[in-house]
C-alpha cells in the first residue's frame, strides 16, 4: 500500500508540472479554489446568518433592497442578505456535489475495473446494467426517486437523499471509461508476467492496473463533480432541495417562486446562477486539461498541424 501511495505521489507531482503550464487549466483551478475557499470561510465572510432578516434604521425588514454598499448584493423577498445566502449556499452546493461525485466515481471505477478485468459474464452483466441506466432519462428518474424516498418518511435529511440519488445514478459514463482503459491495460504483457510470477487477481488489480488508471480516475472525478453540482442545482431549483439549508439551486427556486424576476430583482437570481456557472466551468476546465495531459492521444499531433511541424514544407522553388 505504501508503494501504491508513493507511486501515486510521484505521478501527481509529474502531473502538476505539466498542468501548471496550461493557462486554461490554471484558470479553472483558480475558479474552483476560490469557490472552495468561499465555502470554507462562509461564516467569516458575512456578518449575518443566512436566514437573518436585515432591518433598516427604523427596524423594518428591507425586502428586495437593491445592491449597495450595505447589503452588497441586496436582499430577497423576506429581507435576507443575498450575499450571505450565496456564500453559505456554496457550502451546500459544493458538499452535495463533492459527496455525490465521490460516490459516483467510486461505483463507476469499481464496476469498470471488475467488468474490464474479469470480462465474460461479469462484464456482460455489469455493462447491461450500465446500458439500462444510460438509456433512462436522468432527470425524470431522479425526480421520481427523490420524491418517493421523501414520502417514505425515512427521516433522513433531504440533502442525503440528493447525494445518494445523484451518486447512485451518475456512475455510468465513468464505468464505461474505466472499463475500456482496463481492457487495454490487462492485455499488456506485464500483466501476463504478473500472473506468471504467481500474483492473484487482487494483487494485479491493486499494483498493476489501479496505478495506471488512477490519473484517469482523478481527471474524471473533477468532471463528474461539475455534473453533480449542476444536477443538484437543477433538482433544488425544482424544489427537491432542503429549504432549511439552501444551496444555489434552492436560491434560484426561491427567486423563481417569489417573483424576483417580475419584480426586477436581478440581484436575487443572478448571483447563484453565476456561482453555478463559476464552479462548473472551473471543474470542466480543470477536468478537460487533466484529461488532455493524462491522455496524450487527445492532443493534436504535431504532424496534423502544419504550424507545429518542425520541418516546414519547402517554399516554391524560384523560377
Amino acid at each position: 500500500m505504501q508503494e501504491f501511495w508513493s507511486q501515486l505521489g510521484r505521478k501527481l507531482a509529474a502531473l502538476w508540472r505539466t498542468f501548471s503550464h496550461n493557462r486554461m487549466g490554471m484558470f479553472g483551478a483558480l475558479l474552483v479554489t476560490t469557490a472552495v475557499l468561499v465555502a470554507v470561510g462562509a461564516p467569516y465572510l458575512s456578518p449575518y446568518a443566512p436566514s437573518e432578516v436585515i432591518r433598516d434604521a427604523n427596524g423594518r425588514g428591507m425586502t428586495f433592497a437593491s445592491p449597495s454598499v450595505h447589503p452588497p448584493l441586496g436582499t430577497d423577498d423576506a429581507g435576507r442578505d443575498v450575499f450571505t445566502q450565496l456564500v453559505h449556499g456554496a457550502r451546500i452546493s459544493l458538499m452535495v456535489g463533492f459527496l455525490a461525485g465521490s460516490i459516483a466515481m467510486f461505483i463507476g471505477s469499481l464496476l469498470g475495473i471488475l467488468a474490464g478485468y474479469f470480462g465474460g459474464a461479469v462484464d456482460t452483466l455489469l455493462m447491461r446494467i450500465t446500458d439500462i441506466l444510460l438509456v433512462i432519462p436522468d432527470l425524470p428518474l431522479m425526480i421520481i426517486l427523490v420524491a418517493t424516498l421523501r414520502n417514505l418518511e425515512l427521516h433522513i435529511s433531504p440533502l442525503v437523499v440528493l447525494v445518494l440519488v445523484i451518486g447512485l445514478l451518475y456512475w455510468t459514463s465513468t464505468a464505461r471509461l474505466i472499463r475500456s482503459q482496463v481492457l487495454t491495460i490487462k492485455e499488456r504483457q506485464f500483466v501476463a508476467r504478473a500472473r506468471a510470477i504467481g500474483a492473484g487477481h487482487a494483487h494485479i488489480i491493486r499494483k498493476h492496473i489501479l496505478p495506471q488508471i488512477m490519473p484517469l480516475i482523478v481527471a474524471n472525478t473533477v468532471l463528474i463533480l461539475s455534473t453533480a453540482i449542476l444536477v443538484e442545482s437543477g433538482l433544488a431549483f425544482l424544489g427537491l432541495g432542503d429549504p432549511t439549508k439552501p444551496s444555489w439551486g434552492t436560491m434560484l427556486n426561491f427567486a423563481f417562486s417569489r417573483n424576483a424576476i417580475t419584480n426586477g430583482a436581478w440581484w436575487f437570481y443572478m448571483p447563484p446562477g453565476l456561482a453555478i456557472v463559476w464552479v462548473s466551468l472551473g471543474c470542466v476546465l480543470v477536468g478537460n486539461v487533466l484529461e488532455e495531459t493524462l491522455n496524450p492521444g487527445l492532443a493534436i499531433h504535431h504532424l496534423e498541424d502544419e504550424s507545429r511541424m518542425v520541418a516546414r514544407r519547402p517554399e516554391a522553388a524560384p523560377p
Binding site: 507511486q7 465474460g120 504483457q189 501476463a192 504478473a194 506468471a196 510470477i197 504467481g198 500474483a199
Partner: protein
C-alpha cells in the same frame, strides 16, 4: 538415461475456441523431457505452438484455450491436477519465464527493483529488507550495477532490460527456467552476451532451461537436446548433436538448410516455400506434407507417429520409419 526428468510433458494437447466458434488444435500430443541442469531447445517457425506449450505448462493459457489431454509431470507431480491456488504458489518458485521482449513484460511505471522485489514478496520468501538485499545480489549476478536497480525500464538499454528480466526470473530461485525467445530484438553482440549469461547462471545454479527460439544458431550454442515443433506437434527430438548432424525429418533438414553456414558453399541457402498450416485447417495426414519436398503418397492421408530412429533420437516421418512402417 536412467535419471528421472525434472519436467516431463506427456501427450499434451491444447484446443482453442476461435471467435467464430471454430476449433483450432494448437497443440497435439506434445511430449518431451527436461533433465536437471540441462538445456532443451524448443525450435520451430512462428505460430507452431512453442509459446503455447510454455503457457500450457505454467497454466497461463488464455480463457478460450483448453488443455484436452496430457500430463505435465514436475518431479513426478501432475501440474494439471493442482488447484489454481496451489498453482499460484508454484509459479516462479519452481519455474519462471524470461519473456520475449523485456520492454513489454516489465511494468513501465514501476521501478526495476520494485518489480523484482514484488516476485519475492508475493511468495513470502523473506522480509522487505532481505528482499532489497536479494535484489541487489541478483542485479550483480546478471551484471547490472546495484545503483541502477532503482531506475525505470525505459532508462535501461535493450540488453540491460533482458538482463533485468533474467534477474527477475531468478528472484525466487526456481529449478526450471523457460526462456521464451530471450534474444529476439537484440543485436548480435548483446544476443551473445545474454546467452553467455544464461549459460553461466545455469552452471552456477544448476538450473534446467527450456529455450524457445527459432534461431538454430542459438540452439547449437547452448542446448543439450532439441525438440523441433511444426504445426502444434513435435516432429523430431534428440540430442543437439544428432539433430544437427543427422536430421531425420525433412522439416528439420530444410530448417537447417535455411540458416547460413560458413562451411557450406555460397548460394546453398534455401527457404521452405509456403506457410505453416492454420490451426483451424490442418492437413489430414502429416502436417508438413503440403510443403514437403520428399512427400510420398501415404503422407497426405496418414499422420506419422514418433518413432525412435537411433538411440535417443525420435522423428515423426513416414520416410524414416523403415519399409515395414510404410505399408
Amino acid at each position: 538415461m536412467t535419471e528421472a526428468p525434472l519436467l516431463s510433458v506427456r501427450h499434451l494437447s491444447v484446443d482453442f475456441i476461435m471467435q467464430d466458434g471454430q476449433m483450432g488444435h494448437a497443440l497435439e500430443d506434445v511430449s518431451f523431457d527436461v533433465f536437471h541442469g540441462q538445456t532443451l531447445g524448443l525450435v520451430g517457425e512462428s505460430g507452431c505452438g512453442k509459446t503455447t506449450t510454455l503457457m500450457a505448462i505454467m497454466r497461463l493459457l488464455p480463457a478460450n484455450a483448453r488443455i484436452t489431454t496430457g500430463q505435465v509431470l514436475y518431479n513426478g507431480q501432475d501440474l494439471l491436477s493442482l488447484s489454481e491456488r496451489q498453482m499460484r504458489d508454484f509459479r516462479w518458485k519452481e519455474m519462471s519465464i524470461v519473456f520475449q521482449g523485456a520492454m513489454n513484460a516489465l511494468n513501465p511505471v514501476m521501478r526495476i527493483d520494485e518489480q523484482i522485489g514484488e516476485a519475492i514478496l508475493l511468495h513470502h520468501l523473506m522480509t522487505r529488507s532481505q528482499a532489497a538485499r536479494r535484489v541487489g545480489e541478483l542485479m550483480e549476478m546478471v551484471g547490472i550495477p546495484r545503483e541502477r536497480a532503482g531506475q525505470y525500464p525505459h532508462e535501461y538499454s535493450g540488453g540491460m532490460r533482458q538482463r533485468a528480466m533474467i534477474a527477475l526470473a531468478l528472484a525466487c530461485a526456481p529449478s526450471l527456467l523457460f526462456a521464451d525467445e530471450p534474444t529476439t530484438a537484440l543485436d548480435v553482440m548483446i544476443q551473445a552476451q545474454v546467452l553467455e549469461l544464461l549459460k553461466q547462471i545455469q552452471e552456477k545454479l544448476g538450473l534446467a532451461i527450456v529455450l524457445v527460439t527459432h534461431d538454430l544458431g542459438v540452439v547449437a550454442e547452448v542446448c543439450d537436446s532439441v525438440a523441433v515443433m511444426y504445426g502444434g506437434k513435435v516432429v523430431e527430438s534428440g540430442s543437439a548433436d544428432s539433430i544437427y548432424n543427422a536430421p531425420q525429418h525433412p522439416y528439420t533438414e530444410r530448417l537447417l538448410q535455411s540458416f547460413p553456414d560458413l562451411n557450406r558453399p555460397a548460394g546453398s541457402l534455401v527457404s521452405i516455400p509456403g506457410t505453416p498450416p492454420r490451426v483451424t485447417e490442418l492437413p489430414p495426414g502429416c502436417r508438413f506434407e503440403p510443403r514437403c519436398n520428399k512427400r510420398i503418397e501415404i503422407c497426405a492421408t496418414t499422420a506419422p507417429v514418433m518413432l525412435e530412429t537411433s538411440s535417443g533420437h525420435r522423428a515423426a516421418c513416414h520416410l524414416c520409419q523403415g519399409p515395414a512402417a510404410r505399408f
